[in-house]
Amino acid sequence: MSAAVNVPFGGAETTGAMLAGEVGRAVWLRATYRPQDAAGTALDAGTGCGRGRPVLVFRDRFVGVPMRRPAVLAYPGGARGRVRLFGFDDLTLAVPLDTAADTLPDSTPDTATIGNPSPDRAGGFVWWRAVLTTFDPRTPPVPADLATALSAAGADLASVSMAGHRRHAVLWVAAAPNARIRAARVATVVDAARACSTAVTAVAVTGQAVSSCRRGGDPR
């Protein structure tokens, strides 16, 4: 297993002047290469067909980063390139979407060149310092009929605390296959948002609250 450490993203090391919605962080990374043939087909290691396209491995595993969305890496030599992030239980990867990753110095311990920015050598690897910038996913606009219904009920999607929950509500309504289902989904979202608005404090945990049939009349 890798010794990756979970690192919340967007912490104290935020760098530079970012546009709204951008989060940047200094990161440590190395490249691994999967051999491929001229057509780009991956080959088994040891076939001697060149080093192929890199996969970038981050020293730390990130949490709170929008995975599988494009992000931008500023490599040690100054080149900037787009990557796509992949998250796993023990590590975070990036797959380059352009050739900027070719500027990354060799990560082989024996051949890490002098003159590059000082690498980190944790875990027997050579890790290079870079800056990773990710972008907050935009919440889609609230459909007009949902907005009207929320307003009429004195409710607001802003009362739904988690961005993912707001996005889910909007997309679920927008994807309704017909007017009848759409109206039913709007009503459900409004009902939930109104409950969020009125629930100013968490329900105290009591024996009664967790009885098997506890949810009848529960304002949740």
Binding site: P66, M67, F88
Partner: protein, 368 residues
């Protein structure tokens, strides 16, 4: 020693009070309640625990809603799991479940025997109302499918223990792929088989989907992709157009048994079902016609309301834990009557109705 004798809390008593009447062990009842009610933690909307209960120390994977404000379960900073203040177990590892590109499963004899990968496609998926995946940011399918699959496998490979190889995988499951058409799913499966072959991985491919429906598609998979297993994403019987995305909702429940029978001519077959959305009568009727068609034990999952909208999706009956205890018994009775040798595979479903016992017999095998 039972949980109740350790934790004489009225809350824990209440959680499992009816379990004995249904022959449900305390541990199963507690885990069922944890799945249904979720956790109160600041870790995010959903959390993945490697959990060891005081009365059942074997580490098992549990993935539950984590952002609830009022559940009986809480998780301390040092990983102790409490039911209304009473410690009942400890998470030896805790992760926000936002890193879901793929993961290794079925840990047996020092080797991972299975993997689940989540290829691109969610940016085109509006999600089903009950699906926690739709709470996450959508993916952006920039990579070609082949590169994406290699990246996913590279990530899994880097997590293997020393000396490990993906060639030991017996199964690669494709989940949350959300293919919009049958052809798109077939092309993706062909590509996955090609990628696996290029890496000399001979695993069975399992796809969770409801867009594979034609006899021609099943024949094609048997000829070009097999070994292959289809987990039909049945999910529920009632309110399908309200709860499900359109590519699932337009498959009628009454057509599903024949579909699985057709697929079963050359493929492994099973289905996913969310316990908590239908009435008990609907559940029993559906299980009666579906269970005879499976070659792999179905993934009968506990509905996990992650938020207030999802609370409103529960069948009124399913607000009681007794509903889930009864659902266990319904499935067990039907499978027993069928003489089926299949039993739940604990590693395959992280929100299963079963944890330690099935039809009166202890469940063995990998738990994560």
């Amino acid at each position: 020693m039972s949980v109740l004798s350790r934790c004489r809390s009225g809350v824990v008593d209440a959680l499992v009070s009816d379990a004995g009447q249904y022959g449900v062990p305390d541990v199963d009842a507690l885990l069922l309640a944890l799945n249904l009610y979720g956790l109160c933690t600041p870790l995010g909307a959903r959390v993945r625990l490697q959990l060891s209960l005081i009365t059942s120390p074997e580490v098992r994977t549990v993935v539950v809603a984590a952002g609830r404000s009022d559940p009986p379960f809480t998780l301390s900073d040092d990983g102790w799991l409490y039911a209304a203040g009473v410690p009942i177990g400890r998470a030896v590892r805790t992760d926000a479940d936002d890193a879901v590109s793929g993961y290794l499963r079925c840990w047996k004899h020092g080797t991972w025997w299975a993997a689940t990968i989540n290829p691109a496609g969610r940016s085109r998926c509006t999600g089903c109302a009950f699906c926690p995946t739709s709470l996450e940011p959508p993916a952006d399918p920039v990579l070609t499918l082949e590169r994406e699959l290699h990246a996913l496998l590279d990530g899994l490979e880097l997590q293997l223990p020393p000396g490990g190889t993906l060639r030991s995988l017996h199964e690669v499951a494709v989940s949350t792929a959300c293919y919009r058409t049958e052809n798109a799913a077939l092309e993706a499966m062909v590509m996955l088989r090609k990628v696996l072959r290029s890496r000399r991985i001979n695993a069975r491919i399992v796809l969770l989907s409801s867009v594979l429906r034609s006899r021609e598609a099943f024949r094609f998979l048997a000829e070009h992709v097999a070994p292959f297993g289809l987990f039909l994403t049945a999910e529920c019987v009632s309110r399908r157009d309200f709860l499900l995305k359109n590519t699932k909702a337009d498959l009628l429940p009454e057509a599903m048994p024949a579909l699985l029978a057709e697929a079963g001519a050359g493929l492994d077959t099973s289905f996913t079902y969310i316990a908590g959305l239908d009435t008990t009568v609907q559940l029993e009727k559906f299980m009666t016609v579906m269970l005879p068609q499976v070659t792999l034990f179905p993934s009968v999952q506990i509905f996990q309301p992650h938020k207030r909208i999802m609370d409103r999706l529960l069948s009124p009956e399913a607000e009681c834990l007794g509903y889930y205890y009864n659902a266990r018994r319904v499935v067990e009775n039907i499978m027993t009557d069928l003489g089926s040798p299949l039993t739940p595979e604990l590693w395959r479903c992280y929100r299963s109705l079963w944890a330690t016992e099935y039809a009166g017999h202890a469940l063995t095998g990998p738990t994560r």
